[in-house]
């Protein structure tokens, strides 16, 4: 072992949360090795489609049949289109075993899925952190909102979050850049909901877009969002947050970062004498050769599923069932968000109005079910999106020739009445029977066991969908919306791309894997701060919370290192 393989900190994974760990450690002067299993993607330079016009795509966005046929899961992902397909992993490139259907959506490159994410950033509140304890599921979170609040602010200021101070206690306000407008019908819906219901709020959905660049964003080299709405390709303006434009270059700038790409982490090395982890074993993705790296602290940010995989595969005499897994719960209580349900309608009012320009977000309705007390026959609840828009009348039937062409040539085509809709974002209840595990026989091309998925919806989810349809049918009706249609996509878990848990936080080592600082209870120099650490799922898009948890845990690790306690 040479010195060149020795670092202060190793961070596994360079995406949404790993980028933050790297930034925090490098800024504090620690020599940090950032391991990424995929290739490098440098901001702007490696966004090959970012400035392409629609007509420059051979298939105008569509995925060729040969690819779709062999890769059904990734093809179901809304963002897997011709313009961004190079940022997604095809099913065949890293297979998995589905005891029950699970669409595993993966992005293996520097920046991970932070390049293609949907950029919605809502804080959690104590109604979320206190949920498991109050309602008797999972285990109590070892932290509360006050523990995370300053870190939310810390990451919001650096990432750039657009939002309004709404004063809604289910969705705490943050450090916001200016919001875009809600449109007339969204404002109208907000008023009718407020008039008809107590504690139901229609607000602007906070999102990770720089609407008014602050000095810190300019220092990052980022500028104002130009509402291109093709963020999944990477943004030449740095208008939205991704690790590639923000945390990783910041870490590189310190001179303390070593970025090693094409590095599939096989396992974490545990030293029985020292009683702690000493490094990681890496398989070079190209040569398939194993190489070891060593550090005092290890952050696991491989993405929820791969984090579970690495820990389960990190076996030793002390930990025969996976690192830190005395409880036997590693991989269990795996959960996700229920995104199956949608409701749409039309509104025939305000026909003298329309919108102009685009906007990379929508309106948002924070959870209103079972907030102050249990009031339904299911646990927890759902947040929803809300959007309204007018589209041109497109009736081409029986038209061809000059008549059809004239219709297309109109500069201001006739508009339909308003189209409105809401998508449900339901909290699911983590259960021991929902788990990821290692396959005993099958291995991938890097010699890692395949992940087996046994994750499914339950009765609580079905009841919640029913309630969402009922409540929104009523709310839409009260607003005078008509032609109300509900739909249940029945999509498999995973397609929400909000996979969480398996290495949950908790107070008791017997019933959880991580403590209140995201350290493995039984191997304190290993931290998990990606989706795998989540004790419960709540309804909010989770990335902002991963970022805040990561910054908080990394700064705690620095304190412990200073005190020589790691």
């Amino acid at each position: 072992m040479g010195d060149k393989n020795r670092f202060d900190v190793i961070v596994i994974g360079s995406g949404m949360s790993g980028g933050w760990a790297a930034k925090e450690f490098c800024e504090k002067g620690l020599k940090t090795l950032l391991l990424e299993r995929g290739r490098d993607v440098q901001h702007i330079k490696d966004y090959p489609t970012t400035s392409m016009f629609p007509w420059e795509f051979k298939h105008r966005g569509q995925i060729p049949y040969e690819i779709a046929k062999d890769n059904p899961s990734i093809t179901r992902c809304y963002a897997f289109k011709e313009d961004a397909m190079h940022f997604f992993v095809k099913d065949t490139e890293h297979p998995w075993v589905q005891e029950k259907p699970f669409d595993w959506i993966k992005g293996y490159q520097v920046g991970g899925k932070s390049i293609m994410w949907a950029r919605q950033t809502q804080r959690w509140s104590d109604f979320d952190f206190e949920g498991p304890a109050r309602d008797g599921f999972a285990v109590d979170w070892p932290i509360r909102y006050k523990d995370l609040a300053p870190w939310y602010g810390y990451v919001e200021k650096f990432a750039g979050i657009s939002g309004n101070k709404d004063g809604v206690d289910t969705l705490p306000d943050g450090e916001f850049l200016p919001a875009w407008q809600l449109n007339c019908v969204e404002e109208y819906f907000k008023k009718t909901v407020a008039a008809n219901y107590k504690n139901r709020h229609v607000i602007y959905a906070r999102c990770a877009h720089v609407t008014n660049p602050q000095p810190v964003h300019i220092e990052q080299g980022r500028g104002q969002c130009q509402t291109r709405n093709i963020c999944q390709r990477g943004c030449p303006f740095g208008g939205y947050f991704n690790a590639n434009s923000t945390t990783i270059p910041w870490a590189i700038k310190t001179g303390n970062l070593t970025l090693r790409t094409h590095s599939v982490v096989h396992s974490i090395i545990y030293d029985e004498q020292k009683g702690k982890a000493t490094g990681v074993r890496v398989i070079d993705a190209n040569t398939k050769q194993a190489v070891e790296y060593f550090a005092d602290v290890i952050f696991v940010n491989a993405g929820a599923i791969n984090t579970n995989l690495i820990l389960l595969n990190s076996t030793s005499e002390r930990f025969p069932n996976g690192l830190g897994n005395d409880s036997g719960l590693l991989g269990k209580y795996f959960a996700f968000h229920n995104y199956r349900a949608r409701i749409t309608a039309k509104y025939d009012g305000m026909l003298d109005s329309k919108t102009e320009g685009g906007r990379p977000t929508s309106a948002y309705v924070p959870r209103f079910r079972n907030v102050y007390k249990q009031e339904t026959d299911f646990l927890r609840g759902y947040a929803t999106t809300f959007y309204a828009n007018r589209f041109p009348v497109q009736n081409n039937e029986n038209l061809f020739g000059e008549e059809l062409k004239n219709q297309l040539m109109q500069e201001s085509p006739k508009l339909n009445s308003w189209f409105v809709g809401s998508g449900m974002m339901g909290e699911t209840i983590p259960k021991e029977t929902n788990y990821v595990a290692l396959d005993k026989d099958k291995k991938d091309e890097w010699g890692m066991p395949l992940v087996r998925f046994n994750v499914s919806y339950d009765d609580n989810d079905e009841k919640m969908i029913k309630d969402f349809f009922e409540q929104y049918t009523e709310m839409f009706s009260k607003a005078g919306f008509t032609d109300i249609k509900t739909s249940d996509s029945k999509q498999a878990p995973g397609l929400d791309i909000h996979e969480m848990g398996g290495v949950r936080m908790g107070k008791d080592p017997k019933t959880s894997l991580l403590n209140e600082w995201n350290q493995l209870h039984e191997c304190k120099n290993v931290f998990v701060t990606d989706g795998a650490c989540m004790t419960s799922t709540s309804t909010q898009n989770p990335s902002l919370t991963y970022m805040a948890l990561t910054a908080r845990a990394a700064n705690h690790a620095v304190e412990l290192l200073k005190k020589r306690e790691l």
């Binding site: 969002c225 509402t227 020739g401």
Partner: protein, 176 residues
Amino acid sequence: MQRRTAIRNIAIITAGAAFLPACNNADSTPGIKLKNISVTGKEQNMLAELAETILPKTKEFIGSADLKSHEFLLTMMDDCSSPEDQEKFTAGLKAFEENCNNKFKTSFAKCPAAQRVELLKELEANKDKNNLAAVFYKTTKRYTLQSFTSSKEYLLKIKKFTLAPGPFYKGCVKAA
């Protein structure tokens, strides 16, 4: 001798059959190369005529022939369609031509405008999802429209498309 000729003929026919798709293409005018579907150069010309009939060039603005919309259609059918849809498309293409031949005793490409209109009106009205000619026509129309509305000329000149619209979103403006 006769027997020998017969054998030779069989050999020629077999060899011919083996090269059938290539022969078909070589039969007439050249067209774009396709990987999965077989559409002769002559048929490709017919598609170009059909696309131009659906969205023709006018005084003010270019049409399908200028955009080579039939090549986009063929690319989409070749690359992005399932084998079942590809089969329906090529069978529908033949049914469409046959339809034209039965009605007007000539190919679509040679049909005068009035007859083309009559034919397309009929197919527009045909809601039978199993009618190969009608399904083929609607597929062709859909891709011809997509080619037109996603073209550089249309998006820049008519829709004033820009890749970076700017930071502003107006939630409530007067509808014309």
